[in-house]
Symmetry: C2
Subunit: 86 residues, 2 copies
Amino acid sequence: MFDNFTQSIGFIAAICTTVAFVPQALKIYKSKTARDISLPMWLIFSFGVFLWLIYGILILSLPIIIANVVTLLLSLFILFFKVKYS
Amino acid sequence: MFDNFTQSIGFIAAICTTVAFVPQALKIYKSKTARDISLPMWLIFSFGVFLWLIYGILILSLPIIIANVVTLLLSLFILFFKVKYS
């Protein structure tokens, strides 16, 4: 296994790249506009996060599963509002 | 090690969550607007991707290093244009 410092860096990285989507989701929800948001980005990204989730299930990695369930929900939320407001 | 199917899912996932940022970067670059893009999202996300890169270097994982170098560049590109056009 990797040492505590390395593990901590990984955990903080996972938290950052997951919670980062909260302000974007809130911004779209409040402003009710998503014109500058790229539809292909969020389609490809959501699909990629879904595959990361499958990967996490296949290798039985709880941190990968949890991080990607949260990111997938936020990503689909942004995608839904992008489609709704376009 | 994990089997080929699992490895392939991981690689496709990594490719999707990396190339996804290309259409968003191109969209901002062409439209010259980034009003609906969340500044906090891209600040937190870029920092998170930077930490993933450090993590990849610490555990000597070339796929994590390569994927996160590319994502960091695209993410900083989007961040730069968000700041420039705000």
